[in-house]
C-alpha cells in the first residue's frame, strides 16, 4: 500500500534522498515536498560560480519541474511550514495541512547573523541562497560599488571573490589572525591572502567589527573597533551557519545543537526522520556535502524498511577558492604526541604540511599543489603505517617504492640543461663550466654565473652541483644558519626580507622555506626585529616573538620578579621624581633600590601583578620607561659639562638629554648605550660605549663601537664635527645604519668588525645618505617612540598581567 511521505525542505540532502527512494521503489510513497524558497532543488555549492558569472542559475538546477512531475511529487514551493502536529500526523503549511505516515525534516541551516548594532539595516545580507546571490550580482551594475564581507571562511571568500570578479571593490574583514583558520594553518592562510590581494581584494585579519552604520535605513559603512570606517553599499555576513531546528523543537522532538537522529536517521519520534545540516548525530553536526549524501542513502533505505546505518567517515576538503587550490584532510591541529613534516616551495607558491602521530598520518594541509591529496587522504583513512616511507612521504606516491632518495644522486642525475637557479636562468651545465673554469667557492660561482645571487633559495642546490664537480676539493661553506628552522644566515634573511619585500612573519616562513610551522625562540625575535626595522609602517610588532623582558617591559629576575627602571634623561632627575620613586618603592614593597652604572635608579623585586599599577603611579610623576630591558636605546650617560665643571668645554649634559629624547623608544639589533663627556678627562666614560662623544673646545669627537662587557673595546673615531646639531645628526644616522644592517644580537662593535670601520665611515660621510638615514629613523620613531608603560597601565592591557583565574580561593572554602 502506498504511504504518505512529507518532506520539509528541498535541499541537496533531501533531493538525493528522493532520488534513492524513487530508484529503489517508485511506488512506495506518495510525496509532498515543502520548500520555503520559491523553487526546487539546485546545487547550492555552485552558487559561487553563478555569482562570479562562470555559470547561470539554469545550469545548477538539479531537479526541474519535469523531474518532480515524473515522480509524482506534490510541490509546495514558496510555502513555509507553520507547524508539525505529531499527534494528528499533520504538517501544517501556510496554505493548508497535509497528512503523513512518515515525515522527513530537512530544514538545513540558518546563516548566523552577528547581532551588531545596525545588523537589520537594508543591504546587510547573509550568503545562503539564490536571492542573496542575486543581490550581490546586482551590485556590480552600480559604478564604483563597494562591498564589505564579514567572515574570512570559505563562504565569505567565495562571496568576496565572486563580487570582485564582477568589478566590485571588496574588503574582507576577518576576526581571526589568518583566513580559513578551520581548514588552513597560518602559512597556507598567508598564501591564500596573498592570492586574494593579487586579485584586488582587500583583506583585514584580526579585525573586530563594532557597528554597522546606516543612512536612511540603508547600510553605509562598517565601523571597526580600532575606529576604521569601511564604506559599503552592501554588507555580506558570512560568519557561519546553525542547524535550523525551530520547527522540530516546537514539535517537541529531541533537539540539541541539531535535531537528534540515530544511525537510521530516525528522530525521537519513530515516524519522523531527519537529515542534512539540521541534524545532530552522536554529537556531531554536518556542513560538508559528502556525509549528507551518505545520510540520504541511509534515510531512503530506512523508509523502505531496509537495514542501514549511517557511519560518519573521515572527510577531506578539497576546495578551490578563486583559482587557488586548497586541500585539507583529517586532524591537523589539536592533540598530543604529534609531529609535523613541512614542505615549502616559495617560487611556485606551494605549501604542504603533514601531521603524524606515531607511525600514522593523521592530517594534511596543502596549498597550491594538491595533486597528492587523495593519496594522503587514503593513508589517513586507512590508518596506514607510514614509518617506512616517512623520509620521502611529503613528496607523494611518485617517490615511494623506488630507489633511495639521496639528494646528491638526484642532483647527479640531472641533465646539463636542468635549471638550477630560476631567478637568473642558470642551468647545471653553466655551473659545471664555471667550476671547470676555476671557481671553487659559492661566491666565485655567483660572480661568474649569478646562480643563487637573487633570492638565494637555490644556494643548497648550487653547492651540491659544485660538490659533485669538485669532488673532495669542495669545502661546503660553514656560514652559520640562524637556527634549525632554516639554512639561511642572519645576513641572508635580512637581505631577502628587503629584496623580496617580505612584510610579515608567515611571509618569511613561507618564502624563505622555514622547516618549522612558526619558528623557534631563536629565530622569532630576530625575524620580528628585522621586519619592524625594515617595514616600520607595514609590519606590526609581535609581542609573542619577544623575549619576556621586552614583552613585559621590565627585567625578569632569577626569582621571577621584575626590576623597574624609570628613564632619567641624560642622568638628570629632580626632587619630584625622586619622591615619586620613593613613594612607589614604599607602596609596592620594593626590597632593593640600586643606582645603576647608566645613571638610573633600579627598583628590584617587583611582582608582575604590581607592574601596571606601579607604572601608572610613576607615569603620573612624569616618569616613563627607561627601557633598561630592551634591545634598544638604553641610556645616555653624561657628565655635568661646562654648566658646572671648571674643565667642561661644551654642554655635555644638554647634548646627552637631546640625544636621549631623540633616540629613546627605538629598537636596535642589540642594546645601545651612549655617553657624552664634557672634556677629554672623560668622566662619562664615553670611550667604551656603542657611541661615545667627547667634547673638546673646537667641537665634538664622535667614536663608535666601544664596549665594556664580555669584551673590552675602545671606540674607533668616526668623525669630528663643530656643532651640536651635526653631532646629533651623525649619531642618529649611525644608529639607523646599525639598525638596518646588523645581525640580531650583534652589538655595534661586532657588526663593525664584520663590515669594517671604513665602510661605516664611507656610508655616513655622504650627506645625502646621512639625511636619508635620519629620515628613515624619524619615520620609524613615529610608530615606536611611545611610552610602553603608559600603554600597559591602561586597564585592558593591565589585565594581561594578572592571572587568568584563581582556582585556589574557592577550593579553600
Amino acid at each position: 500500500m502506498t504511504q504518505k511521505l512529507v518532506v520539509i525542505g528541498a535541499g541537496m540532502a533531501s533531493g538525493r534522498m528522493l532520488e534513492h527512494l524513487f530508484e529503489s521503489d517508485p511506488s512506495a510513497y506518495e510525496v509532498t515536498l515543502f520548500n520555503a524558497e520559491p523553487r526546487g532543488n539546485y546545487n547550492r555549492l555552485m552558487l559561487s560560480p553563478v555569482l562570479s558569472g562562470e555559470n547561470t542559475y539554469a545550469e545548477i538546477v538539479t531537479h526541474d519541474e519535469d523531474w518532480y512531475a515524473a515522480n509524482g511529487v506534490a510541490c509546495r514551493f514558496g510555502e513555509r511550514v507553520v507547524e508539525i502536529d505529531r499527534e494528528a500526523k499533520l504538517v501544517v503549511g501556510e496554505k493548508g495541512a497535509v497528512p503523513y505516515d512518515k515525515l522527513v525534516i530537512a530544514t538545513g541551516s540558518d546563516p548566523f547573523m552577528i547581532p551588531l548594532p545596525g545588523h537589520d539595516l537594508e543591504g546587510v545580507i547573509p550568503y545562503r541562497d539564490l536571492e542573496d546571490t542575486e543581490r550581490m550580482m546586482g551590485l556590480s551594475a552600480k559604478p564604483d560599488a563597494k562591498a564589505v564581507v564579514i567572515g574570512g571562511g570559505l563562504l565569505g571568500l567565495e562571496a568576496a571573490a565572486g563580487m570582485a570578479a564582477r568589478g566590485v571593490d571588496v574588503t574582507v574583514v576577518h576576526i581571526m589572525g589568518h583566513l580559513m583558520e578551520r581548514q588552513l594553518d597560518e602559512a597556507a592562510g598567508y598564501l591564500l591572502r596573498r592570492a586574494l590581494t593579487d586579485k584586488g581584494i582587500k583583506v583585514m585579519c584580526s579585525a573586530n567589527s563594532r557597528e554597522i552604520l546606516g543612512e536612511n535605513g540603508h547600510v553605509k559603512a562598517l565601523l571597526l573597533d580600532d575606529g576604521t570606517e569601511l564604506p559599503c553599499d552592501l554588507l555580506v555576513m558570512a560568519v557561519g551557519i546553525r542547524p535550523s531546528v525551530a520547527l522540530a523543537k516546537s514539535a517537541g522532538l529531541a533537539v540539541g545543537r541539531g535535531v537528534h537522529v540515530d544511525d537510521q536517521m530516525v528522530t525521537s519520534d519513530t515516524d519522523v526522520l531527519a537529515l542534512g545540516e539540521c541534524v545532530e548525530h552522536n554529537g556531531a553536526v554536518f556542513g560538508l556535502v559528502a556525509p549528507l549524501y551518505d545520510q540520504a542513502k541511509v534515510l531512503a533505505q530506512t523508509l523502505l524498511g531496509q537495514e542501514a546505518a549511517f557511519r560518519p567517515k573521515e572527510v577531506a576538503t578539497k576546495l578551490k577558492v578563486t583559482g587557488c587550490d586548497l586541500f585539507s584532510a583529517g586532524d591537523f591541529a589539536e592533540g598530543e604526541g604529534r609531529e609535523d613534516i613541512v614542505f615549502r616551495d616559495p617560487a611556485r607558491g606551494v605549501y604542504k604540511r603533514l601531521v603524524l602521530e606515531g607511525e600514522r598520518l593523521i592530517g594534511a594541509v596543502m596549498y597550491g599543489d594538491t595533486a597528492d591529496g587523495a593519496w594522503f587522504h587514503g593513508l589517513i583513512k586507512d590508518r596506514e603505517n607510514v614509518s617506512e616511507m616517512r623520509d620521502t612521504l611529503i613528496f607523494g606516491p611518485a617517490f615511494q617504492g623506488g630507489a633511495s632518495a639521496d639528494p646528491m644522486a638526484a642532483v647527479a642525475a640531472l641533465p646539463a640543461d636542468a635549471e638550477i637557479c630560476g631567478c637568473n636562468g642558470v642551468c647545471k651545465g653553466r655551473i659545471v663550466e664555471a667550476v671547470e673554469g676555476g671557481a671553487t667557492t659559492i661566491e666565485d660561482v655567483r660572480a661568474v654565473t649569478k646562480a643563487s645571487g637573487s633570492c638565494g633559495t637555490c644556494t643548497g642546490l648550487v653547492e651540491q652541483v659544485m660538490a659533485l664537480s669538485l669532488g673532495d676539493d669542495f669545502v661546503m661553506p660553514t656560514a652559520k644558519p640562524v637556527c634549525r628552522c632554516t639554512d639561511l644566515t642572519h645576513e641572508d634573511v635580512r637581505r631577502l626580507i628587503k629584496a623580496q619585500e617580505l612584510k610579515s612573519q608567515p611571509a618569511v616562513w613561507q618564502e624563505l622555506g622555514w622547516t618549522t610551522p612558526n619558528g623557534c625562540h631563536v629565530c622569532r625575535p630576530a625575524v620580528n626585529y628585522y621586519l619592524l626595522a625594515d617595514w616600520p609602517l607595514e609590519y606590526q610588532d609581535d609581542p609573542q616573538s619577544r623575549f619576556v623582558n621586552e614583552r613585559n617591559h621590565a627585567n625578569i629576575q632569577k626569582d621571577g620578579t621584575y626590576s623597574v627602571v624609570p628613564r632619567m634623561w641624560g642622568g638628570l632627575t629632580n626632587p619630584r621624581e625622586l619622591r615619586a620613586i620613593a613613594d612607589a618603592a614604599d607602596k609596592y614593597g620594593v626590597p632593593t633600590v640600586k643606582v645603576t652604572g647608566g645613571q638610573r635608579i633600579d627598583l628590584l623585586g617587583v611582582r608582575k601583578e604590581d607592574l601596571p599599577a606601579m607604572w601608572a603611579d610613576l607615569n603620573e610623576a612624569g616618569l616613563v620607561s627607561g627601557h633598561a630591558y630592551s634591545k634598544g636605546l638604553r641610556t645616555v650617560k653624561t657628565c655635568v659639562g661646562r654648566e658646572h665643571c671648571r674643565f667642561g668645554t661644551q654642554d655635555s649634559t644638554g647634548l646627552g638629554v637631546k640625544l636621549e629624547k631623540r633616540l629613546w623608544g627605538s629598537w636596535t639589533p642589540h642594546k645601545v648605550k651612549l655617553a657624552v663627556s664634557g672634556c677629554p678627562r672623560n668622566c662619562a666614560e664615553a670611550t667604551c660605549k656603542d657611541l661615545g662623544i667627547v667634547c673638546v673646545d673646537s667641537g665634538f669627537e664622535i667614536g663608535v663601537g666601544g664596549a665594556a662587557g664580555m669584551d673590552l673595546k675602545e671606540i674607533q673615531p668616526l668623525v669630528k664635527v663643530a656643532t651640536e646639531a651635526e653631532a646629533e645628526e651623525w649619531s642618529v644616522a649611525f644608529v639607523q645604519l646599525y639598525r638596518e644592517h646588523a645581525k640580531y644580537l650583534d652589538r655595534p662593535y661586532k657588526w663593525i668588525a664584520k663590515v669594517g670601520m671604513d665602510w661605516v665611515r664611507e656610508a655616513l660621510s655622504d650627506a645625502d645618505e646621512r639625511a636619508a638615514l635620519v629620515a628613515r629613523f624619524d619615520l620609524s620613531q613615529t610608530i615606536y617612540q611611545k611610552d610602553p608603560w603608559a600603554e600597559r597601565a591602561e586597564p585592558a592591557q593591565a589585565r594581561r598581567f594578572q592571572p587568568l583565574a584563581d582556582l585556589t580561593l574557592e577550593a579553600a572554602e
Partner: protein
C-alpha cells in the same frame, strides 16, 4: 573529569600564555594555534623559571631564564636537557577554556 571554565580563548594571545592559580601551583595555559591550547605547570624544573613568560613555538615553549625547551604535549624537556613538567587536560569549547579541575586538585563544587 571536572571541567572548569577559566576564561575565554581570546584572553590568551596567539603563541602566548596566561596563568591560572590552582591548588597544585601555578598552571600556564598556552595557545599554540588559533584553536589549539595546552596546560602545563608554570615552573621550569631547572631553576624555577616562569614558563608562561617563554616564547611559544610549534607545540613547545622555551623557558625565559635559561632556554630549556619543553614539549607541551608530553611535558618532556627537549634536546640535551633532562626533566619534565606536569601537563593537565585543557580544551576549548565555544571559545571558552575548560581546565580539568580534578587534575589541578580542585574538588568539584558540591
Amino acid at each position: 573529569m571536572n571541567w572548569i571554565d577559566v576564561g575565554a580563548l581570546d584572553d590568551i594571545p596567539l603563541r602566548g600564555a596566561r596563568l591560572v592559580k590552582t591548588p597544585v601551583g601555578c598552571v600556564a595555559l598556552f595557545r599554540t594555534g588559533e584553536n589549539e591550547v595546552f596546560a602545563a605547570s608554570d615552573r621550569c624544573p631547572h631553576k624555577g623559571g616562569p614558563l608562561s613568560e617563554g616564547i611559544v613555538h610549534g607545540r613547545a615553549v622555551t623557558c625565559p631564564l635559561h632556554n630549556w625547551v619543553f614539549s607541551l604535549e608530553t611535558g618532556e624537556a627537549q634536546g640535551a636537557d633532562e626533566g619534565s613538567i606536569p601537563t593537565y587536560p585543557l580544551r576549548v569549547e565555544n571559545g571558552r577554556l575548560l581546565l580539568d579541575g580534578d587534575a589541578v586538585g580542585r574538588r568539584a563544587a558540591a
